[in-house]
Symmetry: C2
Subunit: 350 residues, 2 copies
DNA sequence: CTTTAGCACTCATTGCCCCTGAGTGCTAAG
DNA sequence: CTTAGCACTCAGGGGCAATGAGTGCTAAAG
């Protein structure tokens, strides 16, 4: 079913205005807008129909209209104008991105913070995987007296390490052997393939270092599992309180307590591979607690079978055009930054 | 100046009750308590004096009294009874601690979450250093085509790594040399001692890998600096909204937006080395924005010149006894866990 | 000299009522 | 189909009085 040109125009005007003011919009206000060549009465009729069609809602009889979730959806899909980033904005985003991201985890937490700042809403950044991750290589590095560092490198380029201390003395030869055995048998296979039989066999072939194999395996499995389970960085929760819809404390708390890592990592049930930015309006969220909030997500390439995702959580009445624009501009920048191999920079002294 | 026995008893009763109810306490309520063998009038007189002495405050004329910061301080130092953890509590804390903390950063974020849960307040966990950190060793590990992984181990046992990609091809020999040079000249010295002259000398002696030295140095310095700058994990901000004193939205926002990593890492200006748990009541906090909140901090040993700190942020009216007890019990557990060398566990199959 | 009963006073909170005004839906005329 | 006109609805706010918890002071009792 198609909306008449005029209905669309009115709907757009209402959503635009409501996004700006957070107050129900009345017929008179709309009629007063330049470019609206109808009387309030006409607008009223149209608004009544839009309400019947489910695009608008009325908080109470004597109030104006506000967009319903379906209204927002229609607006997003059909009416919303692209938001053009101003030079100032692009500059400040670029500048923010200047942070040299040295380590990955840290960087992601910073990314989250920046997104939150950029949108003035709670934001999250997380990593996720597109392929199943395997161990690429083990390294065993002696580290003082009776301890060594186990380094596990995975196919998604994360490198995790653990300091292992032992009460018994271990020789360099033991460690060499351990390393060799681990690399020979346990690399390039996914966590599921770490069967008890395999581990048993490996353990037996490790000689003096056999006691260390289970520890190493435990750690490797743990690393792989943690790779799969995305890491989530959430920040800027307090910005939610700035939004008029969350002046009601209980609402705010409901949303904030729902915003933990688990819900977030499950947020966008399916990522539409076609559109880069995905918007979930209110009840489109699977999580019940978020049925009054909207989520805008986008992803960026990190390369090596991984992707980053950044998202924003806010009231249904959010400036989708602006937020989408900022988010995707930022994500593009990040993609450029992470996705491509890093060029060695020209150093002063060379 | 000493408070009479009776004044102390009354003050304690008021603070105890106010902590429980969050409502100003009147003379009649106190008088009605068993063990209070005085009339309301007497209590009133005492309360008036306690107010003059600065231990109590009156929100308005016709309301009861609430403790002033000084009142809380006196209560904490002199009146508060030790809170005895119930078996249930110790059990659930122990259970929570069962999480096998495989990697340090992750573990700290989990610790933060647990503390928040444990106290039902926003909480933070962070690491900090007691000695100046140095690089203990560099490791250079080839990682595919035109890239390698640089591992920096520091004297505080953190191990950080970075994947470095290069457009040019590098041989294993180059990397060996790089590793040797770095380890020969740049270990066991602190970041300040990375002078341009030294770096220049090292670069020249690195032969074919000379282009990589600045990158490695940059990373090393970055790691050392990050070691010094404590890492902070803050969680459970939403729990602040559950507290009656933060029903006022603006207050809540003020506090929450003040709670970023910077303010937190500066929170306890000086840590009294004698008492394990440190309490900062309201205005005792240096940060202006936190002058209405209290902070309870404790630390635990991680060994190797490092310590962990866990803390709780909440309204001045918080159950200091309970929170102190839970926090320190938890911290002790963590100390036991992190501080001591890890014993290899008995595996099933051995 | 301390304790307590009595009393007048204060003042935040609550509920109530009424008014205002923005906004609607309907009807009938253009 | 559009619009002017009109009666109606209802949230929000101001004013006002009642309520009651709590106080400080005074004077009597212990």
């Amino acid at each position: 079913m198609e909306l008449s040109e005029r209905k669309q125009k009115i709907l757009k005007a209402i959503v635009d205005l409501y996004i700006r003011t957070a107050e129900p919009v009345g017929s008179k206000t709309i009629a007063a807008m330049p470019d609206m060549d109808f009387s309030p009465a006409t607008i009223r009729n149209e608004m009544a129909e839009l309400t019947n069609l489910g695009f608008l809602e009325q908080p109470h009889t004597s109030a104006g209209r506000i967009p319903s979730p379906a209204g927002y959806r229609f607006y997003i899909d059909r009416l919303m104008q692209d938001y053009r980033l101003s030079v100032d904005e692009t500059q400040s985003i670029n500048q923010a991105m200047e942070l040299r991201m040295q380590e990955f985890d840290r960087a992601m937490s910073k990314v989250g913070k920046l997104v939150s700042q950029l949108t003035n809403l709670p934001a999250y950044a997380m990593t996720s995987h597109t392929e199943s991750v395997k161990v690429r290589r083990f390294e065993v590095l002696p580290a003082g007296e009776a301890s060594f560092i186990l380094v596990v490198m995975t196919t998604d380029e994360t490198v995790k390490n653990k300091l292992i201390k032992l009460p018994l003395h271990i020789t360099e030869a033991d460690l060499k052997l351990l390393s060799a055995v681990l690399n020979a048998s346990l690399t390039e296979i996914s966590a599921e393939q770490f069967t008890p039989e395999l581990i048993d066999r490996v353990t037996r072939s490790a000689g003096a270092a056999s006691g260390l194999v289970p520890i190493a395996v435990d750690f490797a499995v743990h690393v792989l599992e943690n790779c799969r389970r995305a890491e989530v960085y959430l920040t800027g929760q307090n910005r939610l309180l700035g939004q008029p819809e969350y002046q009601d404390l209980t609402r705010a708390q409901e949303v904030l307590s729902a915003l933990d890592e688990d819900t977030i990592s499950n947020l966008p049930a399916k990522l539409d591979p076609n559109s880069p930015v995905q918007i979930l309006v209110g009840p489109e969220n699977v999580a019940q607690e978020l049925k009054n909030t909207s989520v805008v997500v986008t992803r960026f390439d990190i390369g090596e079978g991984m992707q980053g995702m950044i998202g924003v959580v806010g009231p249904q009445r959010m400036d989708y055009a602006q937020i989408t624009a900022r988010l995707s501009y930022f994500a593009e920048g990040l993609g450029r930054m992470f996705g491509k191999p890093e060029l060695p920079e020209a150093k002063k002294e060379e």
